[in-house]
Subunit: 405 residues, 4 copies
């Protein structure tokens, strides 16, 4: 028994899957469809989605195509990198961080257009359905959510193609279909399925799209310098760049040096393990550089507390809880630490390696005078004796109290 | 006013610093000195320390020279790697993990020889003094600790050399003195001081001793396979190896591929920041490989809890709390998770990169059937609807309750 | 479309709800029913459930009635109290901790009797359904679970009574029906519903069953002494008691002094807030006494780490994850700390108050010599200067480095 | 070898200890002394300190006497209570939270008066020396700190009295000297020493000063209502009160009902265990009431994250790290959660008991409709099936994967 729906906003890419969904929504729910196509740097033109939507009967005023790249990097990617967020030690959360933005904007468009429902093309076994739907409900809990992959029985590519053919949906077969399920945005591109379903198998070189192989990268290293303000990268080699342009540039540079590939088995929120390969070229530079500028400018205990909270923060983003109050609570703590995270990091890029080779800051807390074994102005070596003694006092007391027990 | 001491066990390397200390202890404390020299894989012969000690007047029965390499890797390095321990996101704790073992053995030798004091050559501004002394006091709180660097005024190399000359201590001047302060064991070699005191400066290539530069590494990648049992590496390319031999082999292999360099600014326990460079070739492979075998065999929440506890565990080791009950408490939790961490990881090594290219386990929790968007035997996609709904319920309720507030 | 089921093990109390479920299972699933009734100290006779089951057509060999009180306290309640577990600052987890045991035993009986399904009487909005079903699936993932409250439409007391009347289920109407939904076991009794649905309303005195009101408690305080071994209470006023008898005795004593009432609004795992009142008389004494014996015998950092992990541990139990590996991982850490938690605690009970008035232990780490401001044998007051100085060093350095910034 | 000091600001109470210190500073350091006496609600007149100081030769312009009660409660006590901070499960941090304020103001007066040193009367084995000195150094790292108790040899009351007599310091011997070492401020009064050095001994009733015994409290309960805004108490029984007046009032009310006594063994930062008794009457009401208003208005995961961070936050305050960036980082997270913590809590006070008997809020997230087992507008009971299934999926998969292993 389907819920009554008058108007639905669909996250629409213009590709096979979401075109089939578009048609299916019209047929099954007999409702008006609003399409929303966002440019978040996935590397494909978004304008073609307009003609596609019109050809499927969408009214021009119901077609929303927007460039969200700057917002994406400024308000989602950068805050996340302030936390040095990595999921399960390896994954830079490229897909996870993009979903909340799309969901939020989709809910806003629902409000603007008076729609009572939203829909997405994420499948029923993945994390993305959760991320989309948590995003919708976090914005407007009254929205009806339609997740076609959990409702219909078109559970294979063949059935989708048959449905498309049957309903007059034109699909460009541009060359061979990739054997992988992919997702891309300005932060990363991901691969799942195909040969990756065997975790013992190495993916073929041809799978990777954004980076050359380290073996095919230049024989000469390249040096770059990133400038930071309040924990965010603001300049590259001395030139101020907007957030999205910064990430675009880093992607290009890192990509040509074979930087940013990851091949992992991860734990999905919905309960199973899955194999994924990721290219996050610019992000891989950013996480290394951010830690380096923090190493000069963060207080030790701030840094350690950040490290302890990070896995939980990363998990919240992975699981789709970007708009949850506990994520905002952690963000408040993280952002508090970034006020003095300012300066410049120099990096050497070479065949897959990102090497920090220099960092400097006018707010640096490093002073070589204090490290050498010679005398200095603030540190009296005799103090170390008392420091150690009192740190060890509980062991000394326990040793005495329980000597013969 | 010095404490009265009858017999002291000195951690003795045979080099300039500890030879001066030996003499100084005899002179200042007018006490018998027992020397303890351990082979923990620092890559220097330990037997020469015997003749050196004898030449300084140590009685043969007071000279202890021991090979602790297997104990070091089996009981210290491996347990630590079960935790995926990394300090401040970068440092694999190579120096930190060796000090407790030396301290423990030194305290045991004090008991055996009836000594009432122990002494070490760590300076008054570093972490090692803490690690040594926490180790001593954790074993025997009644020991008197002599830390010459905090007592004497020989606070420069020149003064040490003068003291040596004056007291007839022979120093082999084997070539040029390194500008760096170094520490080595089977897990790593570290560099501090010299040009590294400028965090904006890249160290010269000649500093590094255990690894070639990625640029000078072979143009051909090498594949290796590591077998795991209960979270520890037990075989390399199908051949069973003891812990120390495993790490030695991995050091050689990784070293020739330019793997395992780190260049960081870190926060010392005693309060200041310091710049350090580290080579941890085998360890860098081990941490990557261990995470890979865990990715197949650990339960998700076990893995996440381990990740959250890890920074604290690493900090305990860094700060010298290996023998503290809170470290043992965390170890109990970590070890509990490793019972099923078994299987094989395949790695590709190439010019500084360690790439996981395959993992397999008879205890694997990965099953491709559950990941694909098709139907399977355990997962009903409709369940995801309820799952998301109840996860979002608190947002839905808050949205309704506070709509107009 | 119902799943085919041959034989189902039902958690059966003999009351209205589970008797209706019994009948409903027979009718709807047309399957053999095995009843399982456990005595976990709920304070009602369990034997009458046998005649009741027989009257509903259950074969004698399909009726399981067991006394699980000792196992409950020894293997569930005591381990939980080692952690000082409290949910949301107030709730001692009385209901939460009993469900896993019942679920585990139910799954075992399913194996013994060759049943392919299990069923329980928990409703579809509460936490207990989760706790039961997580327990079943943690034991045997192949079991079919039947949760009648989520399937049928008998969603009111009236409908249940009508169903009972219609199907010849005899219900003893012993006096007036309580307006509260209750659950009891040796650890506690809980109340929900009725007037409690208004969080601004105070429950009437007549609701409480196990404790007198503090106002009606004796005017004279009572002193008791509890002996501990490895973190568990083993003797009361010098007399050794088994776990269940210990808790029974403490319930009686605490109950007469008005100890152990709680009135809270809590957050359910399934997403909403609910109001609950609880009586946990013996448990309220135990949590106070356990902390007191720990205060003498635990190392400081062990104690603090336990405190930091506790809320997560409590949440796992509340949410039904008793058999999850992450709970076992935390338990391993907690149990590791309890080896030396031994001694005696003296308590004063008076009109709702539990006051610790004495603690002693042969393993005590307390020594008054170290606390007074006078000299002692282990602590040199001058050490405090160095201790403070190095703890403050990062502030001193930051102050200097950023003075004019 | 003493440091040269020109002018020192002394935390001065006017009592024996600090009067002796005042004289000793003049004699030993031959420096000008500025006295600072703060009213933080310790319950003693502060003005008499003026005449006392003058009699000891302090210039009138060097005498600072200030009423800090409102600042103390508003900027220190209330922020701490937002966190529900309790140290080691029992201690409400009454002494710990007052020291940073005094230290901060003392450092400010040093700046104003051009003093180069500060001094306090805390002993060398306690926590307070750390709290004072961390506070000084966090404000101005250039200050010289003089801690007489760690320098002189007046380590007994007899020697102090002799010194006073010898130097013409008049001491009023008002009745018998208390056998306890005490500290008081608006939040609490503490007792150490004397009979308390035996942790098995119950303190005599006469020790307690701010509360009657529960046994002597009125036989009739008293009901009060506290209003909250942004997590802070702002009104009592409908009447708006300033922070300090609020706490004063609560102290009086709670004190007459025997509320707020604690008797514990705690772990000091400097390494030993110590016994302390505390009266925190108003604070004991506040912590209970704050949790109650949070129970209605906080999101579940916010609340749980707060609970997990609390022990660390409490430890920071206990250890003297109020001005540390990691405390500020945690405060930012905590304060973020308090925006909607608004409403009214009704409490019943009776012979030592604080019972929450009602809470209400226009921002309440509680809705009885969602809790009952009947149908409601947001919760579909069938969703629970999917929710449980996916939460248990990892157990199901593990069960299948490892069935025969």
């Amino acid at each position: 028994m389907k819920k009554e729906v008058k108007k639905v906003v669909l996250a629409y890419s213009g590709g096979l899957d979401t075109s089939v969904i578009l048609k299916w929504l019209q047929d099954e729910y007999n409702c008006e469809v609003v399409t929303f196509t966002a440019d978040i740097g996935q590397g494909e033109e978004v304008e073609p989605a307009r003609a596609k939507a019109i050809s499927l009967g969408i009214k021009p005023e119901n077609i929303y195509i927007e460039d969200l790249r700057e917002e994406f990097v400024r308000d989602y990617v950068f805050p996340m990198f302030r936390a040095n967020a990595i999921y399960e030690g390896e994954y830079l959360l490229g897909t996870s961080i993009a979903r909340p933005l799309i969901a939020k904007r989709q809910a806003e468009i629902a409000r603007i257009t008076g729609a009572d429902a939203v829909s997405h093309g994420a499948t029923g076994k993945g994390n993305d359905q959760v991320r989309f739907e948590m995003g919708y409900l976090g914005q407007n809990s009254a929205l009806t959510i339609i997740a076609p992959w959990r409702e219909w029985d078109l559970n294979s590519r063949e059935k989708l193609l048959a449905y498309a053919a049957e309903h007059g949906i034109k699909i460009e077969m541009s060359g061979k279909k990739s054997p992988y399920s992919m997702d891309a945005n300005l932060l990363h591109i991901s691969y799942e399925g195909g040969i990756l379903e065997d975790p013992a198998a190495e993916p073929e070189e041809s799978m990777w799209r954004w980076t050359v192989s380290p073996q095919n990268a230049p024989d000469e290293p390249e040096y770059i310098e990133i400038g930071y303000e309040k924990g965010d990268p603001v300049s590259l080699n001395g030139k101020a760049l907007s957030p999205a342009v910064m990430l675009e540039q880093l992607n290009i540079i890192a990509g040509r040096h074979g930087i940013g590939r990851a091949d992992i088995v991860e734990n999905r929120f919905v309960g199973m393990k899955s194999r994924g390969c990721y290219e996050t070229p610019g992000g891989t530079i950013m996480i290394k550089a951010h830690r380096a500028i923090e190493s000069l400018t963060l207080d030790r205990e701030e840094a350690h507390l950040k490290d302890e909270l990070m896995p939980r923060y990363a998990k919240l983003i992975y699981n789709g809880f970007w708009f949850a109050p506990e994520r905002e609570m952690l963000q408040a703590a993280i952002d508090k630490t970034q006020q003095n995270v300012r300066g410049t990091v120099r990096l050497k890029l070479y065949k897959g390696n990102v090497m920090v080779v220099g960092r400097s800051s006018d707010l640096s807390l490093f002073n070589p005078e204090y490290c050498t074994f010679e005398e200095d102005s603030v540190y009296d070596q005799k103090d170390a004796g008392g420091f150690i003694k009192l740190n060890a006092l509980r062991f000394i007391i326990a040793g005495k109290a329980r000597k013969n027990k």
